[in-house]
């Protein structure tokens, strides 16, 4: 296959970026998209040009590190991670545009690499159950109906890649936050802290500069793990309930 690539190149956080066009003449339909970039990078190095920086790690669709915005879609045309996208999903001779995630809260670090540490800080604000190691009850002392456990699992399947933010015209992180709040609100283990969790995680999300949710559903449509917008509805309910009934929490900003 012959492919023309328009790739966003940007030296670092402070410099201005631009698209650069490259030709890949020997792509195979069996290659993954990232392997095609590997081939291009080898060519570039051989020509004395610096390779394209991009995030990736497990290459089996679970670590959430890869993050390319391809032809106007996070992770490209299929509802998978970038690493699970193969060249057979493209046509011979096609021109493909590759950008980093675009969001104020995800500043570009270099080329296609963005800084998603805002997601970590949201999790640090309350995405946990406050138990120390040891001194916990036997696992089977907490029976959980299968249907509830399954629903919590569906929310817990989030890989934290940020495609939801990249897909949203407002760069909202509601699906990401909703997934964690839902998982722990559904499970008995998460119930004691559910109110302050919802409040704190939303406060941190706002402080990081993510936009508001206007229910367009682009996040769900692009999520490689199929996380449902039901989780956003549940987050709204949890948040409203918490604001109406709980005590005040302090709001901490991002870095």
């Amino acid at each position: 296959m012959k492919i023309t690539l328009k790739v966003w190149r940007q030296k670092n956080r402070d410099s201005k970026g631009a698209f650069k066009t490259y030709q890949v003449d020997h792509a195979s339909p069996d290659m993954s998209f990232l392997e095609m970039i590997d081939v291009l990078n080898t060519d570039l190095i051989k020509k004395g040009e610096e390779s394209i920086a991009f995030d990736h790690d497990c290459r089996e669709g679970i670590c959430g590190m890869c993050s390319m915005y391809i032809n106007g879609h996070p992770h490209g045309p299929l509802q998978t991670t970038t690493c699970q996208l193969h060249m057979r999903s493209f046509k011979d001779g096609e021109t493909i545009t590759v950008e980093p995630w675009r969001a104020k809260a995800f500043p570009v670090v270099k080329d296609l690499v963005v800084d998603r540490s805002a997601f970590d800080r949201i999790q640090q604000a309350g995405g946990y159950v406050s138990v120390n190691t040891g001194g916990v009850p036997d696992a089977n002392e907490i029976p959980i109906p299968k249907i509830v456990a399954d629903e919590a699992f569906d929310a817990a399947a989030c890989i934290g890649c940020g495609a939801c933010v990249a897909a949203c015209k407002n760069a909202s992180a509601m699906l990401f936050v909703g997934a964690k709040v839902s998982q722990l609100a559904l499970l008995p283990q998460g119930k004691p802290e559910r109110k302050q969790r919802a409040e704190r995680m939303v406060a941190q999300m706002d402080a990081e500069g993510f936009g508001s949710c206007t229910n367009t559903g682009a996040c769900e449509a692009e999520c490689p793990k199929g996380i449902s917008v039901t989780n956003i509805a549940r987050l709204n309910r949890e948040y409203l309930g918490a604001m109406l009934t709980s005590y005040q929490v302090e709001v901490g900003g991002g870095e």
Partner: protein, 641 residues
């Protein structure tokens, strides 16, 4: 020197309890005076960092990924073993211990393995308390399955994403301590050296992967939780970033490296399609419960899945069912892998490369219906179709073995301490619990056992012994020296400006390792490999091309450092494989086999743990042996006929 494993005296079942009582404690008010460095944030690292911070120690944690949640533990699929006996099917701590030590082909310590089985039950309690959504029965209690041919159902699981859910649990505990200010987290930061002074580990040198800043960090103890070295084969199921650098550089600072030749090759991976391939994808071995493995009886170059449908039964060779009638397609991982290689070596492999065998569900679909098969394996079939473009409901899957896990690692004693005081190794980074072969669903168990339930006790003993005053400033000459050496290596890599890319060297190394130190090994081959690796090393340091500078995000520079370490490790693996003239577990020496071609262990000569000591660049490493003593199990030969 003699290696002291520090296994406590007394009956097996009382060792850990007694040992815990005998360990010194740090006064609660004094814990805040200690600093601990944790490198790596997978299951072992995240659980250790969180648990130590909960106790009151100040922890600095490091990962090279953009978030601690990305560590490669996240990719584990199958499950986690625990001797809960919730199924009332005869499981017990002793049975899990026995299965693990036997499965490891009697090359692990009894004391360590027994402790692992003991703490396994607490792990499940801990994870459930954190909100890990394990699979459940309709009554609301936890579900179990039998895994990897085990005779009891002791595996807890969370669909096919157990590693992900366990890691997110440990990550949430870590996050809580970051928010509490007890853990300082360094993302996108790679450890490049350990600082050793007066024989003790004093800290580490790191590189900020965004700015290139080289920094020194001092602490009372350093924990390496940095995973395995499967990427020495270039193609493996490991993540692209998985590397041996932390462990290897610790090795060069005096930590012994044990059993490096013990690697696990997993039989059910998606085959290689071409030179562009960057990694291999594992499919759960549960597929072997229903799929039948076969190749044509005679060589048929280029034979495809679509051809297979029309090949009559009498021209097919279901080689595992033929050779191992009682276990059939469910023989252990190493046996299944070796046999697949053998039929491919005979030219009977299938697919475009001839390096694949069929895994056929036709009979299972006929017997149980497509719906049942879909319910059991739907996600795996989808994944296969996504990657290969073929529909496994209609044509047989093609599979081939791939490197998956490394049992070898840094030598540690019962306290998880390396032979360098103050330097610890946890999880896959150490060698300790799996012997020569790891059982399915035991990697997650060991990572979390080390981090949640072993190191919080054993580290306290060391810290109480040295006292909080025993910490160096980063102005100390030992730190300056380490900083200089790290900078020197980076500058050298950037200055060579040769003709070959880092990936080209990595791929070459992988081919050598796979050919000569892969599924089966022999002396002449290993000797060739050693020579080739030595040549590759010289070539690398004179002809590698690393563009860009140190003061920026430079992924080629990162890879170059890692590949240079993998090359050196590769040579040690070959030395270790040469010195171990027996077949055991994942290590098959062709010289040591039964007349039927099965692996033959040699307990008289090789019932030991190898521990290699680095003697300087270009010098041969020295082999030390820790003899294994078995007081509670009888050594038997594995048979699956």
């Amino acid at each position: 020197m003699t290696l002291d494993s520090k296994i406590p005296e007394g009956p097996l079942s009382e060792k850990w309890t007694k040992h815990k009582f005998n360990l010194k404690l740090v006064n609660p008010a004094n814990k805040r005076k200690y600093e601990v460095i944790v490198v790596g944030t997978g299951l072992a690292g995240a659980s250790a960092a969180a648990s130590l911070a909960e106790l009151g120690y100040n922890v600095k944690a490091f990962c090279f990924q953009d978030s601690p949640r990305r560590a490669h533990s996240i990719a584990a699929q199958g499950g986690i073993n625990a001797a809960k006996n919730y199924q009332n099917d005869g499981d017990s701590v002793h049975r899990l211990f026995y299965d693990t030590i036997k499965g490891g082909d009697y090359r692990a310590r009894e004391g360590n393995v027994y402790r692992l089985a003991q703490v396994s039950v607490s792990i499940i309690d801990q994870c459930v308390a954190q909100g890990v959504p394990f699979a459940r029965e309709y009554g609301g209690l936890l579900a179990n399955r039998s895994f990897g041919g085990a005779q009891v159902s002791r595996t807890f699981y969370a669909r096919g994403q157990t590693g992900q859910q366990l890691l997110l649990g440990a990550y949430s505990a870590l996050n809580r301590q970051i928010a509490n200010g007890k853990v300082k987290m360094y993302n996108r930061t790679e450890m490049l050296d350990v600082v050793v002074s007066d024989g003790k580990a004093r800290g580490i040198i790191t590189r900020d992967l965004i700015t290139g800043k080289i920094e020194a960090h001092s602490a009372h103890a350093v924990l390496l939780c940095t995973g395995g070295y499967g990427n020495v084969y270039y193609l493996s199921t490991n993540a692209m970033g998985s590397n041996v650098t932390a462990a290897w550089r610790a090795h060069k600072k005096g930590a012994f490296f044990s059993n490096p030749c013990f690697t696990q090759i997993h039989p059910t991976c998606i085959p290689v399609t071409g030179d562009h391939q960057s990694k291999l994808t594992l499919m759960s071995e549960s597929l072997r419960n229903d799929g039948r493995i076969w190749v044509p009886k005679t060589a048929r170059p280029g034979f495809k899945g679509t051809d297979a449908v029309n090949l009559p039964e009498n021209e097919r060779d279901y080689f595992l069912e033929r050779k191992y009638p009682s276990f059939g397609n469910l023989v252990p991982r190493d046996v299944a892998s070796r046999n697949a290689k053998q039929v491919c070596d005979e030219g009977r492999g299938v697919g475009a490369t001839g390096l694949a065998v069929f895994l056929d569900f036709t009979d299972a679909i006929k017997r149980d219906g497509k719906k049942t098969i879909e319910a059991k394996y739907g996600n795996l079939f989808d994944m296969y179709k996504q990657i290969t473009g073929e529909n496994p409901y209609e044509v047989p899957m093609m599979i081939f073995p791939a490197v998956h896990y490394t049992m070898g690692g840094l030598w540690v004693d019962y306290n998880l301490s390396t032979n360098v005081p103050g330097l610890y190794a946890l999880g896959e980074a150490n060698f300790s619990d799996h012997g020569a072969n790891r059982l399915g669903a035991s990697a997650l168990m060991q990572g979390l056992a080390d981090g949640y339930f072993v190191i919080p006790y054993t580290l306290g003993d060391y810290l109480a012994t040295i006292g909080w005053a025993d910490k160096l400033s980063t102005d100390h000459p030992s730190f300056k020296q380490a900083l200089e050496s790290v900078n020197g290596t980076i500058n050298k890599l950037l200055s060579i400006k040769g003709n070959k890319t880092v990936d080209e060297y990595h791929r070459e190394l992988g081919l050598i390792m796979w050919e000569y130190c892969g599924m089966s090994r022999n002396e002449p081959g290993l000797k060739i490999a050693k020579k080739k690796i030595q040549e590759l090393k010289v070539n690398f340091w004179s002809n590698v091309n690393v563009l860009g500078s140190n003061n920026e995000l430079n992924q080629e520079l990162e890879k170059a450092g890692r590949v240079s370490d993998l090359i050196e490790l590769g040579e040690l693996m070959v030395d270790d494989a040469l010195s171990r003239g027996e077949s055991c577990g994942g290590h098959f020496r062709e010289e040591s086999q039964t007349p039927e071609g099965e692996a033959m262990r040699n307990d008289n000569e090789f019932a030991y743990v190898s521990a290699w000591e680095f003697k300087g660049d270009g010098q041969a490493e020295e082999l030390h042996k820790e003899l294994l003593i078995f007081e509670n199990v009888k050594l038997t030969q594995r048979s699956y006929k």
